[in-house]
Subunit: 205 residues, 4 copies
């Protein structure tokens, strides 16, 4: 019967997120949000005290719905390179799926990065959040590589921790490169890139 508060709030968050990712934080005005939500300016101010507050909320919302890597029984699931690859790709696939569902856009655009940086620029607080997010991702890879090491799957003399970090940055770099491409990039292309990069990484070990 009645629309619940949380629904309206979530609606605003979703719309704001989509707009921020599409055009960048600075380039989105209340006018845009009003138009896309169908609500009034006042309504938005009812839920968020300022644009900065809205930004922070959107960000938390984004992070909360982005799936965290599943580390349950990781040591048993990552026994060799092939199983690592499977686990890693599945994790990434889910993250991307969550992200594109949230934004209602199957493509991932350059503006995504712009939005992240703008957001971070607004508050020192967010810098920390993002740093921790990075650490979580690296940590996940580290645990995978240590598992591989324990299963005797890494060549002699290789440092699992350094390898994990290296792979993380290589993947990040290639992701960035893709965002710089002139054409639109659909989510699936990322998965393919992850596949290939991991494969090359181990081949060259």
């Amino acid at each position: 019967m009645f629309k619940k508060t949380t629904d309206t709030k979530a609606d605003i968050l979703k719309v704001a997120l989509q707009l921020f990712l599409q055009k960048g934080y600075k380039n989105v005005s209340y006018q845009d949000i009003v138009k896309k939500t169908g609500l009034s300016k006042g309504a938005i101010y009812h839920y968020f005290t300022s644009k900065e507050d809205l930004l922070a909320s959107v960000f938390t919302f984004l992070l909360s719905t982005t799936g965290q890597p599943d580390t349950e029984g990781l040591e048993n699931r990552v026994k060799d390179i092939e199983s690592f690859r499977k686990v890693f790709i599945r994790t990434k696939t889910e993250q991307i799926k969550g992200f594109t569902e949230l934004t209602g856009d199957p493509s991932i655009k350059f503006n995504k990065v712009l939005f992240f940086l703008e957001a971070i620029n607004e508050s020192e607080e967010l810098k920390k959040v993002i740093r921790e997010l990075m650490q979580t991702e690296i940590e996940f890879l580290k645990r995978c590589f240590l598992s591989l090491k324990n299963h005797g799957q890494l060549p002699q003399g290789k440092d699992a921790v350094v390898l994990a970090e290296n792979l993380y940055w290589i993947l990040q770099g290639k992701e960035t490169l893709m965002l710089f491409m002139p054409d639109e990039i659909i989510a699936g292309s990322f998965i393919k890139m992850y596949h290939k990069t991991v494969k090359d990484f181990f081949k060259n070990l």
Copy 2:
């Protein structure tokens, strides 16, 4: 003598660059530039037809003064890992020196990245420029690694090209990580990071 046209124009460019790097493109107003240059709004419009024109000019100016890697006789200068490291670090040192001199700021801030992304977001053209810039850097590393390979300095079965790319992204990633740190980062810290990363990279080869 009298102040020459080019001086004023260069003054504006320098001030604009510094402000853009400090606060981000969108956050810099003509008012800011006016205050810092001591000129009038009209004077700036005398030299640049719009803010976007100013941005593009600042960008070209930045790139033109950033030293390109010196590839002269690279095969003779890069004979083993130690000589590679020396050549690489010197190149980077010079680039950073040029950059900090230009900005008049010995530290390198997070906003630097923000400015780059905002600029790129304004024109598809800049995307291409940046892509090419990346390619130049990677190319330089590739030539170094091929030289190492020719001198028999790379382990059997290693692909010089893949290694070069990997190192490039790892360095980029660590650079990014540094920019996310809460404290100000002076240029020297970057050099130290380059040193350590290259060393670890080869140790783990």
Copy 3:
């Protein structure tokens, strides 16, 4: 009760119209409108998306409140020259009364024409509107003259349509001439001129 939206909007329209007629469209700034309405810039933009939109609205407003000639039972009311003159003058009197009430100014100034031309110059659309307005006025005169003809009040061999058109332009011309006079012209003078011109026109037939 409370002030209704339409009041504010109408207030703005009225003030804008008065200013436009006083100084010409280009010479009226938002500042002027702000000062005279007592509202803020933002408030005006709340109702009109741009100065051009305001102009178009003012124009429609002006035309809508300017009484259209009453053609009800015209054939019975216009039986001879004297009755035509009465009908015509009454129509004009009402139009002028409506106009001066709208502008809050009993005089009609040269700037009125300037405003019209500037407005027309802004959009091809308005050209059409004005053309149609002219046609309506001429049509009214034609119907009057045809009625006169049917009542046998026009000399042999006279073309009612041509006569109507001629009278229209002669009246327009004299109106224009009056606007070029150095002194202020009060609305009543127009009526006198209409009287005399129509009289002379028929005398000379």
Copy 4:
């Protein structure tokens, strides 16, 4: 060998006139004049103390080069309706030729009127000039009609002076109507209209 002062001054006047007639006075900036003359801003200020001064000069220039009706031996040249028509059309043809040569544009645009009104709006002085110009034109027609009357070419009871005035305004009105048409109007169309209007006028007398 050397370009004479007057040449430069005349160049500026011509360019300014063309621009004013094309776009209206308010819509022409020094920038436009600079671009079209190839001179510098300073040069224009060297010859004209302000934009208003330039406008006044342009106007005098326009009027001085517009041929005045030739009244030499008019009584002998205007003996009947046909000869009147010939004389009148020739006069108008020359005026229009002079005008289009001056503007370098074979078409006559709506903006022409706008420019006139804007100019007049700038100074009360010009109002007088234009009034006198109108009077000259009407005077010319009056002398023609009196000549016709003297040659017994006007019907009994017709007032030559009133007829002349009427014809003047009818022609003016039709001219105005043409300027409101959406399509471009070449000079020749005006001549045709003059022909037809004069013919109709006498036919309906």
